[in-house]
């Protein structure tokens, strides 16, 4: 997925995460994560963000994530929405529940 501009998704409400994605040409994924549950779940949230971006084929980007206790499924949803907005893409290849 080719990112074209900076985009954001999510809110700062409880149980949500606000994700901002800025396109970069090189340098991999530079992640700046702050979380209200950093001690307990910081690593897990980071892994979910990186895994989601990798699944979308995003290789280089600056990502700022401000987490307010989001579940994994919310983290995935917000990262995906921000990435698609950054790519200016509306179509998405939805996967079936197994």
């Amino acid at each position: 997925m080719k990112l074209k501009h900076t985009a954001m998704a999510g809110t700062l409400e409880s149980s949500d995460i606000m994700v901002t994605i800025e396109p970069k040409d090189t340098g991999g994924i530079a992640l700046d994560l702050t979380s209200s549950v950093m001690q307990q779940f910081g690593r897990q949230i980071e892994a979910v963000i990186r895994d989601t971006l990798s699944g979308l084929g995003v290789e280089n980007a600056a990502v700022i994530a401000v987490d307010k206790g989001a579940l994994d499924c919310t983290v995935r949803a917000r990262v995906s929405a921000a990435a698609l907005r950054a790519a200016g893409q509306e179509e998405f290849n939805w996967e079936v529940r197994r």
Binding site: A9, G10, S14, T74, A77, A81, R85, F92, V96
Partner: protein, 299 residues
């Protein structure tokens, strides 16, 4: 074919949950509603439709909602948003799709065609996903019977009163303005053998008004109604629980029938009165409702 939905089940309450609110989505199952309805339509701003679609898709795929029925209200199909919603939620395993602003049988047929196309694309058995149609206009009310019969996937039809009263050039008041629509929808649903579901009561602070409306729709014969606040769920359920003395009478009817059958007699009587078929059907329905309520409590 394995269906994701159950046609005939307890649907006293369908709780609306805004589709772009992760906190409410995560908590939705704890309030005891019979059905949870994630909303991609009116509660989601136009600029957030894409984000809500991701949120609801991922929630459907990963969160556990027990035995609750999971409904998603999509946007209508006219502007392209509704089809995008279906693309996201059908593969995620939604039980029932709620189509808003249903004016004709053709609206249901068009929606069903899209669902079938998406099921086929993902290798899901065609017909696995259920549907319900919300009627929100004078046209829709007048076409209620055709709408209710338009698809075998339909589990029910519902009244959406806010748009409807606007279309009628009136406002919501004591319920007199909805009498015709409710009667049409109820009779259309029964003629198709599906559920009749009432509209929301939006003044959440007026419990007396809410209970009066619940009593009215229960007497009319509705299966349940949509709620917008968890506080409305328990009073609604209480109103639908059969009264103990009615339940005892229903068991007595069934005992008398069983006794007559054991005697090889086709005619049963209770307290000197013959029990005819409608009495048996009402007794069976009352017992089923009480048992379903007990099972929900235990779950």
């Amino acid at each position: 074919m394995e269906k994701r939905y159950v046609k005939d089940r307890l649907r006293r309450s369908m709780m609306f949950v805004p589709g772009n609110n992760p906190g409410m989505i995560a908590d939705a199952r704890i309030y005891g509603a019979d059905s949870i309805m994630f909303d991609l339509e009116d509660s989601v701003a136009l600029t957030e439709k894409d984000a809500a679609r991701f949120l609801v898709h991922n929630a459907l795929k990963t969160l556990h909602f027990g035995k609750k029925e999971i409904v998603v209200r999509i946007n209508d199909l006219s502007g392209g948003l509704g089809v995008r919603d279906l693309e996201a939620i059908v593969p995620a395993g939604v039980h029932v799709v709620r189509l808003p602003k249903t004016d004709s049988a053709q609206d249901v047929i068009d929606c069903e065609r899209e669902i079938a196309r998406i099921e086929e694309k993902h290798g899901i058995p065609v017909g696995a996903t259920g549907m319900m149609a919300a009627i929100e206009s004078a046209n829709g009310v007048l076409n209620a019977k055709e709408i209710a019969h338009a698809s075998g996937r339909l589990i029910g039809i519902a009244l959406g009163a806010e748009d409807y009263v606007t279309d009628l050039k009136t406002t919501r008041s004591d319920g007199i303005e909805l009498l015709f629509a409710r009667s049409m929808i109820l009779n259309a649903a029964r003629s198709a053998g599906i559920a009749a579901l009432d509209t929301v009561y939006s003044d959440v602070n007026n419990e007396e008004g809410f209970l009066a409306e619940v009593e009215l729709i229960r007497k009319l014969g509705f299966d349940g109604k949509s709620v917008i606040n968890p506080r409305q769920i328990q009073p609604l359920h209480r109103a639908f629980i059969p009264k103990e003395k009615d339940l005892q009478k229903a068991y007595a009817v069934m005992d008398a029938i069983a006794e007559a059958n054991a005697r090889g007699s086709g005619v049963a009587s209770l307290n000197g009165k013959m029990i005819d078929r409608p009495v048996v059907l009402r007794a069976q329905r009352l017992i089923a409702l009480a048992e379903a309520d007990k099972m929900t409590e235990e779950a």
